[in-house]
Symmetry: D2
Subunit: 189 residues, 4 copies
Amino acid sequence: MRLTTPAPAPALAVSQWFNTESDITLDGLRGEVVVIETFQMLCPGCVAYGLPQAQRVQESFGHELKVLGLHTVFEHHSAMSPVSLEAFLHEYRIVFPVGVDEHEPGLDAPVTMRRYQLQGTPSLIVIDRAGLCRVTAFGRHDDLALGALLARLIDEPRPVDGCDPDHGCIITTTTRPDMPARPNSEDPQ
Amino acid sequence: MRLTTPAPAPALAVSQWFNTESDITLDGLRGEVVVIETFQMLCPGCVAYGLPQAQRVQESFGHELKVLGLHTVFEHHSAMSPVSLEAFLHEYRIVFPVGVDEHEPGLDAPVTMRRYQLQGTPSLIVIDRAGLCRVTAFGRHDDLALGALLARLIDEPRPVDGCDPDHGCIITTTTRPDMPARPNSEDPQ
Amino acid sequence: MRLTTPAPAPALAVSQWFNTESDITLDGLRGEVVVIETFQMLCPGCVAYGLPQAQRVQESFGHELKVLGLHTVFEHHSAMSPVSLEAFLHEYRIVFPVGVDEHEPGLDAPVTMRRYQLQGTPSLIVIDRAGLCRVTAFGRHDDLALGALLARLIDEPRPVDGCDPDHGCIITTTTRPDMPARPNSEDPQ
Amino acid sequence: MRLTTPAPAPALAVSQWFNTESDITLDGLRGEVVVIETFQMLCPGCVAYGLPQAQRVQESFGHELKVLGLHTVFEHHSAMSPVSLEAFLHEYRIVFPVGVDEHEPGLDAPVTMRRYQLQGTPSLIVIDRAGLCRVTAFGRHDDLALGALLARLIDEPRPVDGCDPDHGCIITTTTRPDMPARPNSEDPQ
């Protein structure tokens, strides 16, 4: 699981959420470590090892970080509609929040998937407390290495008022609701 | 895997076939051993062990018997439409013919599933050369025992003109197209 | 699992038996289907899949055929002595009879292993009711195919008085104790 | 995997080492994180999951910490002699150093196993840079949780000259060869 050069995590573009009462934005999670499992419900590797690993992360670290799923459909669109996804989440007992990555007419890959330049599914995204993306990794990942990475990110200091001595101060729409949104902040929905 | 008392296999009621150029009926397969894997595409046990076992049967015995899938949806109907099933079969590389079990308005369980009185999915149905149902078994089945059963059914004599010394003569609409269909023969479609 | 040309199964040369009160010979088992799992206790493939398959055969077919283990040590001889083997059988809960393949001074491969010309461990030997060797297969084997083979061998007729219409009459030292032993009959021990 | 109250790790009592050119003591490793997989070569759980996990730790963290094996034989002593162990390590491709836990006449459990009060095999021991034992856990352990623990121990500061601000200064026979050995330091061998 290769680390990426830390860079601000692009906003999520989600057309519909499951397993959560209110919409979720990365700005709203600033200060938390966020693990995003991107998947397609009919992708065999996602079912066989991607989602099970996300479920193990939820069980082992669920009280210390935030696990999200993102349904990044880039093929068979009519076969993996939100109606099908909802039944899938129920049958596979996936309890963490799952968003449907937003589609734009004429493009196969959905918006968030393109923002993160993901290669395919399953891909794992890990975002640190300062909102920087640290991992975007396609394929299968080792639990030992992932456990080590998550422990280290959990142990990083929580940025104070959006400020982190190493990365400067970041204005968030959450902590400063009077401020205009950053260019790459969450899409209005 | 418990054997059932041999009895004539009820006809399949299929609204749509995949992976075959022409519709399939049990009457048309009379004389062959037939293995039917009944499943729902969003049933985790079907994906984890039912369908993989059917694929192994296809690989090991595909030239000696007929493997069919039957999509017996009894819940989340709109989530497991034929459009979704088609993508599922493609992604999971299922190459044997798969039929969609026919629904009747107001009933959750589809027609064939009720005819065979299946308990749920996955269930395995095995039919002998004489058209008698020998197994309808819910759940997970041992490969050694299944291999033994299939070898024995393959080795049973092929009925001559629909006649089998142990079971009498059975009129089939296939071998005697001039005869009226048996009460439980294939549905006209 | 390739079948071999049926040929009389060479006798076992066993220096010590475990899990049986009296010594076992193939002549004494004539009329039974015999499955022999040849292994070395420190061979990882034997522990991971060879012996577990033999245990599954014992569970599924134990009342219809005879499962034997044969400890064919051809390397690390002092590391895999009968004392170590006994503890191994206890810890891995192997309950079928296991023989120690006999060694001759100066030769790495033991006697029975050479008689059957085995390539290594694990190897599976299957002998039919007439005492003919039908399989000597090195490596990993499919449960479906093995189940099919065993069912067919179990269903072959039991030779009457050592006579089999297809193979002629075979004198066994067991059924005819007054007869001299055949050249390839069991070693005196 | 429950953490223990940190306490000085008892010395290892090893009668023979494999996979290392010189004997290993915990005093000599002071400053390093040490992971000790205690096992018996004929313990099925050790072979199935204990040792494979230690091998994964060696692969993922081998450059950042020290993995050791300890053969803590408490039953079938003659079956698991050093001669058998050596062949076992070769066949299972275990490349990290493995010590044989020392026996005392009349006692089944070996010396180190008793010092650490282990419940059985496999048990995992983890020792921090200051020489404090942090984990002694029997059974099967989650890779995610173990990866997290090891990352955190690796990130703890290396004690300076045997001194650690949180735990005080510890005299080691390695760094201060002129000093008498501590009561629980390594056994002379």
